[in-house]
Amino acid sequence: MPDIQSLYSEKVMDHFRNPRNVGEIENPDGTGHVGNPICGDIMELYIKVNGNTITDAKFKTFGCGAAIATSSMVTEMIIGKTIDEALEISNKTVAEALGGLPAAKMHCSVLAEDALRSAIDDYHSKQKKGKSKAKAKKK
């Protein structure tokens, strides 16, 4: 009799079964919305930033096993990292941290990377606005 086989690695399945940091953050410092219904993967990523460090992250994902697991993994990876450190994370690093993904599913890990960049962009633009507001106040 053959061995039990699975499409995904154990690590992926662990994150799929017990996704970390599911949910939303009230008043997040940055939010990323990526994906589109045509490919069937949609992700929202929320981050909280203190100083230059990501102190919290949460996600919501509509998508396949790989999409959910990479979403979960990316939140776990960025919490505690500085924004610059977080920007070094690529879809490859996420996939590697999950023990690899099936070739056909590698594109899902791009979703997580995109969401991360989009949330950080959002954070930066909020920062700018905040600073200009602050500047405006000082005047």
Binding site: R17, I42, K60, I68
Partner: protein
């Protein structure tokens, strides 16, 4: 935990009696049916008996059955066979919800000078016979419309469609891979010229199928080679596979009436209960003109594969769209053709019951599925934006 298999439309376990029937033809009566010594004639006899059994299932004559390596080959053979046999005609009409074996074959021909019409279907997946009538031209060589759809189970009005084709003098092919063995088919009554079948969908082995070819149909071979299958398909016959297919059709024919009733009951129980117990569910496919074994629903805000994996963790096997397209990332062309949005198409779940499905299996799904949906909805960004 007992495994609950609810993906009989993807493939079926080979019936134990079928395996038993096949076994002598591997290592004992292994002769080549083309060999003239008695050893070869023994194999030939076994192949001919199977041909009779398969013909019986659809009320055809033995000599109208050509064995193939599966449903896909039967579809390729029928379509390319007619296309190449009628060089003065280059137009083919198919429905937009055909199996990939039909669609991809037509796309191949399209690149090589053929014109293909892809007929729309209504919200339940039905082809409108009037559409067929209107699109026939004097260049049309073939109309190919599937008997029953593999994803949504919708059964087409094949007799009506075939009659229109015949009146216009155009060959009619039907992919009956999902219908054969499940619902009664009589090729003379419906009047089709070509009909595809596959053994592994009716408790026979994988890698065997058949094309029914009405006597007199002009068709070029697809598999060129030796003079097997009455010169219509080269290659050494897959004797054990063919014997298994024959046996499986005999079993299917005997069990059919009872199974239709039993499976329809299970199917309707599952459909009704899912619709009752979960909000935001749409039944895909025709409510009554559907295969006795097919349940297909779209569950709002939840992606199909994530449901499948969760069901798999509970040892329940189901499918989202066609098993064949699971490695593709596009939403099912069948569901989109029904008019579903992409999100709904990605949210589909198919359960197909079979010979060994019990009431308890269905109840187990009903116990597990609502929880899975609730859990996944809790992490769905779509739900919030719809609130």
């Amino acid at each position: 935990m007992k495994r609950i298999y609810l993906d009989y439309a993807a493939t079926t376990p080979t019936h134990r009696d079928v395996v038993k029937a096949m076994l002598p033809y591997f290592s004992d009566s292994f002769g080549n049916p083309s060999s003239i010594y008695s050893y070869g004639q023994e194999s030939k006899g076994a192949v001919e008996k199977a041909r009779e059994q398969v013909a019986n299932l659809i009320s055809a004559h033995d000599e109208e059955i050509v064995f193939t390596s599966g449903g896909t080959e039967a579809d390729n053979f029928a379509i390319k066979g007619v296309a190449y046999a009628n060089p003065e005609r280059n137009h083919i009409i198919i429905s937009s919800i055909e199996h990939h074996a039909v669609i991809e074959t037509c796309k191949f021909l399209e690149k090589r000078g053929f014109e293909i019409t892809y007929l729309p279907v209504d919200k339940d997946g039905l082809v409108d016979p009037d559409d067929v009538r209107k699109t026939i031209t004097d260049k049309t060589c073939l109309i190919s419309i599937m008997h029953a759809n593999n994803e949504i189970g919708t059964i087409q009005p094949i007799k009506k469609l075939a009659t229109i084709a015949r009146e216009a003098g155009v060959y009619f092919h039907t992919d009956a891979v999902q219908a054969a063995g499940q619902i009664p088919i009589n090729v003379d009554d419906v009047g089709v010229d070509l009909l595809s079948m596959s053994a592994h969908k009716l408790y026979g082995p994988k890698g065997v199928g058949a094309l029914y070819i009405r006597k007199g149909t002009r068709l070029v071979p697809f598999m060129h080679g030796g003079s097997q299958e009455n010169d219509r398909r080269g290659s050494t016959e897959n004797v054990p596979g063919i014997v298994g297919f024959g046996k499986a059709t005999a079993i299917a024919l005997e069990a059919m009436t009872g199974e239709i009733e039993r499976q329809t009951r299970l199917r309707d129980h599952l459909i009704t209960s899912i619709l009752e117990q979960i909000d935001g569910v749409r039944l895909n496919g025709h409510p009554t003109k559907r295969l006795p074994n097919n349940v297909n629903v779209s569950i709002d805000y939840v992606e199909g594969e994530s449901m499948l994996l969760n069901l798999d963790l509970e040892n329940i096997c189901a499918s989202t769209g066609s098993a064949c397209s699971s490695s593709s990332l596009e939403a099912s062309h069948v569901l989109l053709a029904l008019g579903l949005g992409h999100e709904q198409a990605h949210s589909s779940l198919r359960f197909t019951v079979g010979k060994w499905t019990t009431e308890e299996d269905i109840n187990r799904v009903l116990e597990v599925l609502p929880k899975i949906v609730a859990r996944l909805r809790a992490m769905s960004p779509l739900l919030k934006s719809h609130k």
